[in-house]
Amino acid sequence: MSIYIKGGRLIDPAHKVDMTADLYVAEGKVVAIGENAKSFNAEQTIDAKGLIICPGFIDLSASIPEPGHETKGTVASETRAAAAAGVTSLCCPPNTTPAIDSPSVATLIQDLGRQNDFCHLYPIGAMTVGLQGAQLSEIYALKEVGCIAVSNMRRPYQSNAVLLHCLEYAATHDITVFFSSTDVTLEQSGCVHDGPYATRLGLGGIPETAETVALSRDLLLVEQSGVRAHFGQLSTARSVELIARAQDRGIPITADVAVQHLISTETCIHDFNALYHIQPPLRSEQDRRALLQGVKQGVISAICSYHQPHETAAKMAPFAATEPGISSIETLLPYGLELVRNNALELTELIERLTFGPAKAARIKGGALGIGDIADICIFDPDEYWLLNEKTIFSKGHNTPLLNTEIQGRVRYTMVAGRKVHQYTN
């Protein structure tokens, strides 16, 4: 299929491109930009006037609950949601049931992904068997079948020695380790940021040290083992500082932040709204600003959706008894654009952190639209208002605080390897 995308504003931060330009796509690749390709025989023309054309987004953390929790979401439903969100590469964490700790589970998920064919689906392998923190998984085999990294998520390790050995083994095979640094003993039974709102509402507080104590340890062991590491979903100002200091010392680490942590703070929980129950918790305004600053300065090179779809019942309980997580992949771009409208980020910075930044962090292809690059493309209208509701949402998880809200910024076309996987025309 050859496609001629006409008259849009092309933003490709990887090539420092931001201009109005035509884009020619054929055989799954970008074949020409800007010039009038006379010989080009377009089977389809997309009028992108007034729209933004950029590389498809790369989401480093979006949960797909299949296998195991299909009532929350399936590969089919969540990759369809990804396509609607402009996400062309999706990395799914290993907390399925069973966990992605064996090549068979990783292969199953990828097969389901290929059958549905809405995006590139990259599983993240479980670093330890069952995420139990005791026995190293066959992580070389996981890498061989397509896992782009391994992670133990927010689960504890039996000992620091186990963690060190996992990192050494991962380093041996040049496997990236994704951390979500958490000290569960400091987390205790908390469910919200240990701040004035926790105090007022009598909800268990999670201190920032639950993240920073573990992060400090993880950084030291990463340095010792020489493994390639990525730190996901930072939530505190101190974490940004720790990552920046390690990067300054030349340790090859990257970091991401969940878009919700750039937008919201602990104030959102003031009336026990369980839709804002996430872990790590929404923290203080000071933390939010520091995270934004980290994104701006490049200490944090990726913004992820941290999508966690749930069935309705998972949120129908008193706050602490609800399951943490927000169905957020379809609000990734609208939230990001809100940061642009608030002058917190430049549009090109936002797109870089959604495309080339995560591509480098996870060492996956995509995230750029140069000639010859794979035609993973997102075309969106940054201004269009639309209503997110039960009819317009694609994810099976309706657990977003933005449900039944008018939001701004809508994906019009998503292409994966030159193939249209999502289209919205008004």
Partner: protein, 349 residues
Amino acid sequence: MGPIAESPQIQLTDNGQLRHFLTIEGLPSSILCEILDTADSFISMEQQSVKKVPLLRGKTIVNLFFEPSTRTRTTFEIAAKRLSADVINLNISTSATTKGESLLDTLRNLEAMASDMFVVRHADSGAAHFIAEQVTPKIAIINAGDGRHAHPTQAMLDMLTIRRHKGEFEQLSVAIVGDILHSRVARSQIQALNTLGVPDIRVIAPNTLLPFDVESLGVKIYNRMIDGLADVDTVIMLRLQNERMQGALLPSQHEFYQLYGLTMDKLKYAKPDAIVMHPGPINRGVEIASDVADSNQSVILNQVGYGIAVRMAVMSMAMSGQTMQNQENSAGHNDEHLESPDSNGTARL
């Protein structure tokens, strides 16, 4: 740190009357005073030979206790019966894994039985808010304690105790001693004391039993009893749970008693006419010495009696607000569709 966002006023009717009683926070002092005044009138009624009034005749109140309680449940039951309501007690133990769904299912079942009011106790903070949001708006919800969040009727009976023994709130110093971190009673007391204008509210505890930035609630922190008790008018002791000895919050009961137990020696630092309060049940020799608990400065048993009057006040006010709101709502909807008399509740008014 951003400003503290206001809780939405789901507790009040469109006209500002009480319809649910979930937390002290956000309620104006006029409502708190109305509760105290109404409770006062019920106390004088207690002297009469017939203690019942027909305010809630024909109403069904369900005491929904997901957590064990003797004192609170009993006083709610007596209060409801003195208001001539029909009372059903349900003690529902919950298993941690299924509590979310079973709570909602339980509520749906009770809703179908045409109850008028739920009195709820639950181990999770925010449970009463959750229930108020999830059940039909026609049912009034009274929070009888939710997790660490709030225990507003306990706080109001404490306010009544203070007002009856100490007079005006604007002149008082009040110290709350013990496990503030895990205490819903303390949170509600602090909010009530602030709303009623008490200028000097103190909390006395080791740092392990204080929540993060507790000053943001409008209190001063004291780590030592003799500093915190100096010249106070009221000492409120909190119950210490045994499980606080785990996880290194406290070394031992013995050391806690040495440092924070209320003894006659320590009480001397308070004003000579200071009163001693405790939400009960007391642990003699753990947080309070026997001679203090039994002294004439102790008003602990008076508190229990006031508890009935306060709960009568809250239940009658909430039911009246709820009834008005329902009448208003159904009047507003009459044009659109006719409601059957048994579904809109008019038959029961």
